[in-house]
Symmetry: C2
DNA sequence: ACCGTAGGAGAACGTTCGTTCTCACGTCAA
DNA sequence: TTGACGTGAGAACGAACGTTCTCCTACGGT
């Protein structure tokens, strides 16, 4: 197994475990067991657990935003594209291993003690918010609407994570529709 | 120091530390140091750390909802009372030691591994949501609006916790105003 | 005064975990 | 063939931490 493959496997295992059970309740030894990558190699690729956590969050950030954009790009109508964000949320919430927003969870767990994780979370949320702002601007709507929709989306994520239902997405979408019409 | 006073001090310290830095990064020894309650007494009052965590969340839940209700009760107009929820959020976000919603944070940290904490978080959120529903019903508005406002409030909490600004409260309040007018 | 009990300070115990080390094995270059 | 090197399995190390234990002091009832 070459270095790149080991890295992917390690990140796959890290993501599954850290996201599924929280960072602090997963030991490096379990990452080794799940990934099949030896401890020695793990520490070559990621010299500390902190760095593995950062890499996990970073890769997940890229993928999460790509999947969102891919979903939105199914549509052309600018207003429909805004609402597609909430459709994507619903799809996400329905995934069998969904356990809430990885960044909100990581912030709750590590935000107070790890400035780097806190910064990654802020960057991720800033990027999401900026994306929403672009969609709203493309629909010719005032920027304030983006902030409102952003709060709805965050509320839906956190609520879906706690209740383990997809329903918050539909509710947020309804509210978003009202806000769009009112703007 | 009698037993009741020791209990209060222990809970004060637990709340300050657990809320401020997260549960898992605070040891029982630090709770002892901050509270001035010896380990022996701590374990008499709370036979395990888990039970101390539960007691912390429970006491905070009671107080948090009392303060919210007290703020809302300043007003009589039913619609104003609904909006007062967001005023209270802004006040909360501005507190100097504000670090996001304790239950969202606890859920991110422990929700996946502690069913009891997860249940407490769900109960707290259910209670908040039910309170909002009562305010909305008293204003003669459809129940669906309560769900929408709830998502706005949760989004504001999570965003304020991550960005450490009070601004999400004002944005959520604006959006809430629009939703109320549209209903 | 005397004893039983409670409490405080802090050592001690056992476990977990991040990280490093040991050792044996296989591979490839000279 | 030999020897340097990379790797894997897992032991080992050191720290942190939840929990319990030891020992000493102080007090309340007789």
């Amino acid at each position: 197994m070459d270095s790149a493959a080991a890295r992917e496997r390690a990140l796959d295992a890290a993501e599954e475990l850290f996201y599924g059970r929280g960072v602090q309740s997963v030991g490096m030894d379990e990452v080794r067991g799940t990934s099949g990558v030896s401890l020695k190699r793990l520490y070559q690729l990621f010299p500390s657990k902190d760095l593995l956590v950062e890499a996990y969050l970073e890769r997940r950030d890229t993928r999460w935003r790509e999947r969102l954009a891919a979903h939105v790009d199914r549509y052309e109508d600018p207003e429909r594209r805004v609402l597609a964000v909430f459709d994507r949320l619903e799809e996400w919430f329905a995934e069998p291993d969904f356990r809430g927003c990885a960044w909100i969870n990581a912030h709750g767990e590590l935000g107070a003690t790890s400035p780097r994780v806190a910064a990654q979370v802020r960057a991720h949320k800033r990027a999401f918010r900026a994306y929403l702002a672009r969609l709203v601007a493309a629909a010719g709507l005032p920027d304030a609407v983006a902030g409102q929709l952003y709060l709805l989306a965050e509320g839906a994520m956190v609520t879906a994570g706690i209740t383990r239902t997809t329903e918050p997405a539909a509710r947020a979408r309804e509210a978003a529709g009202v806000l769009l019409r009112a703007a």
